[in-house]
Symmetry: C2
Subunit: 300 residues, 2 copies
């Protein structure tokens, strides 16, 4: 049976480390006060739930939190103005606009208006571009991919030289996971909906990352014994035995996959909690950068 | 025997198309005059040779050309000032700083100072970032990767669904080739010096791109019969029978590989000529964008 990669426990450790780090920094720099803001447009239930999780985790870690709620009817130009205000607000060290947005707003314009220096989601083209460039360090790594790499590292998985297969090529998960794994010296194959012979390719993986959004799509029999499996998918399927009427499953069929994998991350409790922990980490890194800059200004 | 992918002939066709396009545009817009500039720092012989090739090709196509030669001793800040002047010069539609630079100058600072709107080399982080983002079109694609895709398309090679193996992950060749192939719906494996079992992986390729800079490294026996092979490597090896004392070879052993591949690009005369043709294409695209913008300003 595979070893479980307990994302919940790992994320908790990281959140505790962040909390301690903030506490110590505050002792040395009484004005140090990391602050995260989220702009939420409209009242989608799932968005409200994600925003609440981020708020709770931030506050627990000692990060101040500001929520800017906007009506569904906000114009793109009004939204961009709010973003520019946050860019210019020196008390905010990082912020994000909760996606998805209503269809009358162009997501790209929104993301690219966020200052790359406060882009704690890591979605700005300049941060993604620096991720793709050798010898360049983006200011922020996107949270879910960063969390996946952290899961692998904290589970003692060797990445260098290994063959990683990533299924899904979105710009928030698959593509940046590919890039991070390649930067960590894995040989990486990137697959998607046009890939032929997917089960055959999966069989060649030492590390398998699945981020496609298809409930229990990948079967255990496709997986080579000993493979490390990270399941990013988060799919609701009907289940009348649950109070909510749904049950959450990954993109991997857990029962069959856990019988052959060496390590596997469960859904829920795998990648999900890491995403929020990495958002906090990005916010603190940013606050530390701003602190450093202000100290350098004070000295000079 | 493999079909030869004749980059020289394909590049010539493209340069002729560009020439005709410029001629027609000039008839309709007498002020249309695409102009490319290159900043060359120091007098490296290889750089001088590359710059001369670009100058010759530009002029032949009807693109004006300006060379800014700078002494080896130029400071980084002086160089950045020259770049900003070209950014602001409305008669220049595209420019590049010929690499490599003397070691006292930070290449990243140089590349990131070039306006993304004039970055005809396609190396700016924002252009690379938009290349990595779904639904985003960078203003410029890097020339060598763009040329490789053009070679495949003009040779009638189907890319979608195929398994492409790219060897080399530099930010000017391997990595962006990977990205372009994935955007064209290939399943792509990116390999590098830490890859284990390289010959085994090469055997699984339908399309093989080699960009490592190691003379005749990839052998024909590693290649599956029918594979399409693009050899980017450009390596000088001693050859006393040549007047220059050297002979140019690729990263692939041509004699053995051409016996099994379905198509193969030779060195020289494969990818090399395409790089210059794509630089001209990027320059004309940029000049057309500036023309379009000025017409929109005139109308409004
Ligand atoms: N735990 C967490 O914190 C997070 C979880 N997620 C979850 O991860 C999953 C993926 O999210 P996201 O990347 O945003 O999804 P997207 O819908 O943006 O992308 C899905 C990707 O999967 C590919 N794909 C779809 N079907 C198949 C198939 N049958 N075979 C191979 N590839 C396929 C698509 O290919 P193509 O490009 O060809 O269309 C696409 O590249 C979702 O379940 C989402 O809920 C996402 C973010 C965070
Ligand atoms: N025809 C043209 O117009 C152009 C030709 N070229 C030629 O292409 C070649 C590559 O150029 P460039 O990308 O700039 O080179 P770089 O030196 O920047 O990168 C070489 C890449 O190859 C990898 N590599 C090196 N040795 C091996 C090996 N034994 N097995 C597997 N991978 C290996 C390296 O891996 P790692 O990352 O682990 O170090 C690295 O990613 C050169 O010959 C260059 O002259 C380049 C540009 C334009």
């Amino acid at each position: 049976m595979a070893k479980l990669i307990d994302g919940k426990a790992i994320a908790k450790d990281i959140r505790n480390q962040i909390k301690n780090e903030i506490r110590e920094l505050k002792q040395n720099y009484p004005n140090f006060s990391p602050r995260l803001a989220i702009i939420q447009v409209g009242g989608r239930e799932d968005s409200t739930c994600y925003v609440r999780q981020k708020e709770k985790a931030a506050k627990e870690a000692g990060i101040e939190f500001m929520l800017h709620k906007k009506a569904d009817s906000i114009t793109e130009s009004e939204l961009l103005t709010s973003i520019r205000e946050l860019n210019d607000n020196p008390t905010i060290h990082g912020f994000l606009v909760q996606l998805p947005l209503p269809s009358h707003i162009n997501e790209k314009n929104v993301v690219e208006t966020i200052s790359p220096k406060k882009d704690v989601d890591g979605f700005h083209a300049i941060n993604l571009g620096n991720l793709a460039k050798r010898n360049c360090e983006p200011l922020f790594l996107p949270c879910t991919p960063k969390g996946i790499l952290e899961l692998l590292k904290r589970s003692g998985i060797k990445i260098s030289g290994k063959h990683a297969v990533v299924i899904g090529r979105s710009d928030i998960v698959g593509f940046p996971v590919f890039t991070l794994l390649s930067r960590s010296d894995a040989t990486v194959t990137l697959c998607h909906s046009k890939t032929e012979n997917l089960p055959e390719l999966i069989k060649t993986a030492d590390i398998l990352i699945v981020a496609i959004g298809k409930a229990e799509f990948v079967k255990g029999e496709w997986i080579k014994p000993g493979t490390v499996v990270i399941d990013v998918g988060t799919n609701a399927i009907e289940d009348s035995s649950k109070q909510s009427g749904v049950r959450w499953v990954g993109d991997v069929e857990f029962s069959s996959a856990s019988a052959v994998a060496s390590h596997i991350s469960p859904v829920p409790g795998g990648v999900g909690p890491m995403t929020v922990a990495m958002l906090l980490q990005n916010t603190v890194e940013s606050a530390k950068r701003f602190l450093q800059e202000s100290r350098e200004r004070d000295i000079s």
